[in-house]
Symmetry: C2
Subunit: 343 residues, 2 copies
DNA sequence: TTGTAAGCGTTATCAG
DNA sequence: CTGATAACGCTTACAA
C-alpha cells in the first residue's frame, strides 16, 4: 500500500507544472501535447484524485447525510431505498446516521453539520424539540426534515398525514359494516402515538360512532406488545369487530392473537395496519394497511435537498404526502379457518 | 448561513496564535489562562472543527464505506444493522453504496477507494471476478469482503456456508419422514444459485435419496417467480412432500401457491426457506428458514475492518459463519386448513 | 508555554 | 498556453 501519487508526482513525471496537471485533469483548455503527457503519467501511476483535498478547496464534499431513528425500522428503510438512488444519480454519496431514537443523538448530528463533512442533511426525527429548532435555525448546511415541524420553521419539510390515514382506515372498516372499531395504539407520548389517537377519535366522531374507552388499547409499536394489547382488548370488549392498528407490527401481533383465540379474520374481526411495510404483504392473511408514503416522502426529501444544493434559495417548502389505503385480505379477502384453502 | 468561524477567527478573537487554538482544542498542555480565552472565543463564535481540513492533514477520514448489491435486500440490511453500531461505537461514519447488482459499479467503488474519502471498505459482492481481484490487490485502504474469495486472495474475508445450510434443511425434512424433497432454486449462473444447487444434490446423496430432475425447479429469487416455479413443480411431480426454497421470497411464493392448490403446510408439503429474513417470522404459517448468518457476518466484517484500521497487519483472515436452521410452523407447527385456530 | 511556518493535495489567480 | 504561487483549515515541528 504505497503512498498514492499526487498531482505533484504526475507533474514531475510529465515534466510540467502542477497547475497544468490540474488543468488537464479538469478538462480546461490545454495544448494537446501537454494533455497527452499528463494523461500518460497519470495512467502509468494509477492516479486517483484525492477527494479530501478537493473538498477542502472547493468547499463541496459531494456527500449528503441521512439521519434516521433506527436502521432496523422498515419505514425508514423504505425512505432510504428512495433517497439512495436519487442522490447517487446526482453524484452524491450517502452518509448514514442511526440515532437510536435518542434525541441527543439527533441534536448531535445537526451539530456535526458544522464539521462540513456533508453538503446537506435529510433527517427524520422522532419529534421536533426546541433544541432541534434552535440547531435548525443555525444550521450551516441545507436540511430537509421528514416529519412535521411547527409552522414558520425555516426548513424544508416533508410531512405524512396520519390523521387522514387513520380516517381512511376507519372509514373503510365502517363501510364494511363494522361498528365496534378498536384502536390498538403505541405510546401516546410519541408523535405517531398521539396523532393517531386523536385522529381515531375524530374519525369516529365524523361517522357518528360513539367513542368507547374500552375500545382503545395502548401497547408499544412491536409485535409481541401488540399481541398482548389485543388479548386484553378481547377480554374487555369481546364484541369488537375491527382493529385499527397503529402500525404493521402491532397488526401482525393482532393476527397472532386473533388466530389463537379462534376469531376469523376478516369475518369476525377485520384488521388494518399502518405503514404498509413489506411484512403486510407477506403475512397471511395479507394485511390491509395504510401507507403513509414513506417511500414518496424519502424521494421528495431527496429532491428538495438537491434543489437546495443546486443553489435554490426560495422560501422553505412544505410538502405533504397523502396517505393511501392498501386493501388486502385482512379486511376484504377470503377467510382462512374453515376448510382447506381454495383458489 | 454566514461562513463558519475557523481557528484563525478564534485566534484573533482570543488574541493568541492559531497554534495555541489548535493545542487547546486538542487538549495539549497549555496555560490555564490561554485555555480560558480560547474556549470562551470558541463558544461565543459557535466554532466547530472542520472535518475536511482535519482529514487532509491527518490522512484519516473516520469514514468507512459499506457496499452492497441492493438497499432493498433484507439480507444486506441485516448486515447493515450490525455494521452500523459497531462502526458508530468506534467513531466512524458509515458511507453507503448500493451497486444495483452491477459489477462495474462494484469495481467503481473499489476504484474510488483511491480518492481516500474513507478509511476502509466492507463489500459484499455478487460474485468475485478477476477485475475485483485485481482492484483488491491494489486497494489503497483495507477492505473486508463478505462473500467468498479464492484461496490466497490477500483480503479479509467473511463467508457464509450455504452448502451446510442446504444440508441442514434437507436433513431436517428427511428426518420428518419426507422423501420427495424438491429444490426451488434461483438462476444457476449466480453464486447462490449454483452453490445451493450443488449442495442440494450432495445432501440427497448423503441421505441415500435418488436425485430426480423433476424435483428441481428453477425460477428467480422473487416471490412471484417462486410461486410460478412451484406451480409447475406440482404439475410435474404431484407427489412432492417437501420444498427446499433457495430463499425466503421464493418460499413465500410457494406458500401462496400451495394454499391455492389446497395442499396443507406442513402436513402435505413441508417448506423451508433460506436467509431467515423478517418475512419468515411474519408469514403464516411461519416459515422455517436456514439462516446464513447475515447479521453475524456483518458484525464480523465490521470488527475485522476495525482491527485493520487500528493497525493490525497480520495475514488476511478468513472467517466462516455457520448456518443455523430455524424451525417454524412450515415444517413442524400446527396446520392451518381444517378447523379454525385452536390453542 | 507560545508563536512562526511548513505542509496535507487541490484549485484558481496572475503574470509571463 | 503555462508556471509560480497563494489559498482552503488544520496539525505539528521547531524556535523563541
Amino acid at each position: 500500500m504505497a503512498d498514492g501519487p499526487t498531482i505533484t508526482t504526475i507533474a514531475e513525471r510529465a515534466g510540467v507544472s502542477i497547475a497544468s496537471v490540474s488543468r488537464v485533469l479538469n478538462g480546461l483548455p490545454t495544448r494537446q501535447e501537454t494533455v497527452r503527457k499528463v494523461m500518460a503519467a497519470a495512467d502509468e501511476l494509477g492516479y486517483v484524485r484525492n477527494a479530501v483535498a478537493r473538498s477542502l478547496k472547493s468547499r463541496r464534499t459531494h456527500q449528503v447525510a441521512f439521519a434516521m431513528a433506527d436502521v432496523g425500522n422498515p419505514a425508514y428503510l423504505a425512505m432510504l431505498r428512495q433517497i439512495q438512488p436519487v442522490l447517487k444519480a446526482a453524484g452524491y454519496r450517502l452518509v448514514l446516521h442511526s440515532t437510536d431514537a435518542v434525541v441527543a443523538d439527533e441534536i448531535d448530528v445537526l451539530h456535526s453539520l458544522g464539521e462540513r463533512y456533508v453538503d446537506g442533511l435529510i433527517m427524520s426525527p422522532l419529534r421536533v424539540t426546541d433544541a432541534h429548532l434552535q440547531m435548525l435555525a443555525a444550521a450551516r448546511a441545507p436540511v430537509v426534515i421528514i416529519g412535521t415541524v411547527p409552522e414558520g420553521t425555516p426548513v424544508d419539510n416533508v410531512r405524512a398525514d396520519s390523521r387522514t390515514g387513520v380516517r381512511l382506515a376507519v372509514d373503510h372498516l365502517h363501510s364494511l359494516g363494522r361498528r365496534r372499531i378498536a384502536l390498538v395504539n403505541g405510546p401516546p407520548d410519541t408523535w405517531p402515538g398521539a396523532s393517531r389517537g386523536a385522529a381515531y377519535r375524530e374519525a369516529l366522531e365524523q361517522l357518528g360512532l360513539p367513542y368507547d374507552d374500552d375500545l382503545v388499547q395502548i401497547g408499544d409499536f412491536y409485535r409481541a406488545q401488540g399481541g398482548r394489547a389485543v388479548a386484553e382488548l378481547l377480554e374487555r370488549a369481546p364484541d369488537v369487530d375491527a382493529l385499527m392498528c397503529a402500525n404493521d407490527l402491532i397488526a401482525l401481533g393482532a393476527l397472532d392473537v386473533l388466530r389463537a383465540a379462534g376469531r376469523r379474520v376478516p369475518d369476525d374481526v377485520a384488521v388494518v395496519g399502518m405503514d404498509d411495510t413489506d411484512l403486510a404483504a407477506a403475512s397471511w392473511p395479507s394485511l390491509s394497511s395504510v401507507s403513509l408514503g414513506s417511500a414518496e416522502r424519502g424521494k421528495a426529501a431527496a429532491e428538495l435537498l438537491l434543489d437546495r444544493l443546486n443553489g435554490d434559495d426560495a422560501a422553505p417548502r412544505v410538502i405533504t404526502v397523502p396517505p393511501r389505503l392498501v386493501v388486502r385480505a385482512s379486511t376484504a379477502g377470503e377467510t382462512y379457518g374453515h376448510e382447506g384453502g381454495r383458489t
